[in-house]
Symmetry: C2
């Protein structure tokens, strides 16, 4: 998840942790943050996996100054060849994991680097996922409507409308995609 996002961002240019986080916020927008508590461990894992490499931005040690305190330098991360492969691999997979709530947004953010066929499949997957959920909620609501207090009801309805909105959005996107890539 975060892995995909990091791969995507480093695909543009090498970055250090802090920048990475800024970009994350800027790219994913209001929909997902990713704290340092996730970022650094993920970077660690990715490094271990050999998908990224570090350029110690290295500690320009001033001649006279004793290096008593570790004199921390910037740590710049960049993609390795394996990392690029991994990125392509993740971009290509259009399974249920690509259209779960949190994951979808990240995949979407890198759509311009994704194969058009895959784009459509992900959008459609996401849409039917939401439609399922909507139907479940709708019938559930119909069954229990009377027993619920007005606040719970309001919550449900707001939720339903949000889902509806997203479904409409997705439908538009799918149509646009089809228009631009008539496919087979």
């Amino acid at each position: 998840m975060l892995e995909l996002a990091v791969l995507g961002l480093l695909h543009e240019s090498p970055l250090h942790g802090y920048e990475l986080r800024q970009r994350l916020k800027a790219t994913l927008g209001s929909f997902r943050a990713f704290s340092y508590g996730s970022l650094y461990p993920t970077l660690g894992r990715m490094k271990d996996a050999g998908h990224i490499a570090v350029d110690e931005g290295d500690a320009q040690v001033v001649a006279g100054a004793p290096a008593l305190t570790g004199r921390r330098g910037k740590v710049v991360y960049k993609l390795t060849a394996d990392g690029k492969e991994r990125f392509a691999e993740l971009l290509a997979e259009a399974g249920p994991s690509s259209w779960e709530d949190e994951t979808f947004g990240v995949h979407f953010a890198f759509f311009s680097k994704t194969d058009p066929e895959v784009r459509v499949r992900i959008l459609e997957g996401r849409r039917s996922r939401l439609e399922e959920r909507r139907e479940g909620a709708r019938t559930g609501l119909a069954r229990t409507r009377e027993r619920l207090d007005s606040y719970t009801l309001q919550l449900q309805e707001h939720g339903l409308e949000s889902v509806d909105r997203e479904v409409r959005w997705l439908t538009e996107l799918i149509e646009t995609e089809r228009k631009n890539h008539p496919s087979r």
Copy 2:
């Protein structure tokens, strides 16, 4: 979080795990699920804390049948006096934690059991939280608009609109609250 939800549901009537989860889905609607992987550990913690007690729905052991396999019975959970106190305590607190994304929905679901003053404070807190986020996103968007590809842009804008929608919803709710409880 889950703790609050469980307290709220058990406040109505004792339930066992499975029912609890059904109610969770029904009450929180499309917006949050809560898997068993959260539920049972939470129930464990709450039991340890003395907020809930278990009624072993107990293994009606048939006379002749040897109890070789543990013959698992239903486990019914119910609130203790401490649990009711804890519930009231959680309902009364209207701090930042009450209007974070995930938390807010749960608080809202039990608004009918919440003090009117607290309700308004939570709604307002949530709203300003969203407005902050919106401003951040809006200015960020304005600064970087050119550098973003159309998909990222679309994602941002969809996000912004969603936030706008929720802000409008909250504003309506706040007005209704004020109308019904003019207060000081």
